[in-house]
């Protein structure tokens, strides 16, 4: 039976849209390998040609692996490149072909995280390194000062180059991170499960959009041994507990300067949802290290007409929550 013209057209459209990558982008932790994993070893050796290359801009955001070359056409006194990866990846940065004049005040500094308006993500409370260890200064370092690896899926490079035609090349590679802690979401919609296995640390999932958050699963206090520990049923005031989830809202990226809008310190398997009408919405899991803690949630962008209305008595600079 011959295929109808409609079916032929549909097949043609589907194959074209697949080639152009126009299909709906689905967040998938495994998608970063994609077809690359099907290549033979010989084909992978030749995959250097597949690495993306383009010029780096003075203000830039990089979401792909590749080589990014900056050449100053005129003195560039304050430049920054933001780099972001998938939630379950960390970023490896490598400088090469560097031709800057450190003695004249040029610099290239790589930072483990993002800095925005004087605030750092992850905050000093949530990052395992002290602040000065999060900077890698090309001019100050001896030896392998040209490499850096981030602890989470965001990193930055700050640079100042005063002489025209000076510059550098930045190689960005992403590496898999099996237990992500501190994530900046690339998109205003998605879902995520954060697991902290027997670690005493605090992890934040930051969404730089106003969103409706739905916690779909929360498992706190899975004991190391077979002993059962009573679950706390307190709704508020969880900060006395060692393990809890808090939802934060604010207008900066530093989670320690944001306002807690809710916290949960008992396990739930149901739906808890909240609208956070803030520039930054954060799910933060605080863990004592005694247990394996897990939180799953979904989020979607709040449209302008869905933003919670501000109350008349609300504090200045406090975004609205519902």
């Amino acid at each position: 039976m011959p295929a109808t013209p409609c079916a032929q057209l549909l097949l043609c459209l589907m194959s074209v849209s697949a080639r152009l990558g126009l299909g709906r982008y689905v967040e998938d932790n495994e998608a970063s390998d994609g077809l690359y994993s099907l290549l033979s070893l010989e084909q992978k050796r030749g995959s250097e040609d597949l690495l993306f290359r383009r010029p780096l801009r003075c203000l830039d955001m990089l979401a792909t692996d590749g080589y990014f070359t900056f050449v100053a056409s005129r003195p560039q006194l304050a430049c920054a490149a933001f780099i972001i990866a998938e939630p379950s990846e960390v970023i490896s940065l490598e400088l090469s072909d560097v031709s800057i004049d450190c003695s004249a005040g040029d610099f290239i500094k790589m930072f483990d995280g993002w800095v925005l308006k004087g605030e750092k993500f992850p905050s000093s409370q949530d990052h395992q390194l002290p602040v000065h260890q999060r900077y890698t200064d090309y001019c100050s370092s001896t030896g392998p000062g040209a490499k850096s690896r981030s602890s989470q899926n965001v990193a930055m490079v700050f640079f100042r180059i005063q002489s025209p035609d000076s510059g550098f090349t930045l190689l960005v590679k992403k590496l898999h991170n099996p237990f992500p802690c501190n994530v900046m979401s690339q998109s205003p919609e998605g879902s995520f499960t954060m697991v902290i296995p027997h670690q005493r640390r605090n992890c934040s999932f930051s969404i730089i959009y106003p969103v409706e958050l739905r916690l779909t699963e929360l498992s706190l206090g899975q004991a190391k041994s077979n002993e059962l520990s009573p679950q706390r049923q307190v709704w508020s005031g969880c900060s006395g507990s060692g393990d809890y989830v808090e939802l934060l809202g604010g207008n900066g990226v530093d989670t320690s300067k944001m306002f807690p809008v809710a916290d949960l310190c008992f396990s739930l398997s149901g739906l808890a949802q909240m609208k956070i009408g803030c520039d930054n919405s954060v799910v933060r899991l605080v863990s004592s290290g005694n247990y394996i803690n897990r939180v799953s949630f979904q989020y979607r962008l709040l449209e302008h007409n869905e933003l919670p209305r501000s109350r008349e008595n609300s504090l200045d600079n406090f975004c609205t929550v519902e």
């Binding site: 080639r19 990558g21 003075c58 203000l59 590749g66 207008n251």
Partner: protein, 139 residues
């Protein structure tokens, strides 16, 4: 979401060659939103948020926005730059280790714009990479 009207004293004419009537007010607001701070203080930071305008998603406009932003960033940084000698920075480095020496005063609005551009670039690059791999399979 905090909505702050732009300060009229700081309004500057757009420097972009784009004459599209819809772009001009958006470009003016972008010019207000971005400033750079060097040396940990001194330069002013502008009110950060304006009502999100319904910006077109065309790549041409985004590219023009980025170029304008870069020109404005450079102009701002040159007028507000504090000259510090590198030696002074190094001597005080350990004591000032908790301070961020540089910070970009980028609004969330602009950060989201460049993030969305980067994601579009990633999706296009992934599609291109897939196509090359499929071509290799065919050989």
């Amino acid at each position: 979401m905090l909505v702050v009207p732009p300060r009229s004293a700081d309004c500057r004419p757009s420097v972009a060659p784009i004459s599209h009537h819809l772009l001009r007010p958006l470009l003016l607001r972008l010019g207000e939103e971005v400033s750079l701070r060097l040396g940990g203080g001194g330069a002013s930071s502008f009110p950060s948020e304006l009502a999100a305008s319904s910006s077109s998603s065309s790549s041409v406009m985004n590219q023009a926005l980025l170029q304008l932003t870069q020109r404005l960033l450079l102009a701002r940084s040159q007028s507000q730059l504090q000259v510090e000698s590198k030696n002074e920075e190094e001597e005080g480095k350990e004591k000032r280790s908790d301070e961020s020496p540089i910070s970009l005063d980028l609004t969330f609005h602009l950060l989201r714009e460049v993030l969305e551009m980067a994601r579009a670039e990633q999706i296009a690059q992934q599609a291109d990479s897939n196509r090359k791999i499929m071509d290799d399979f065919g050989k």
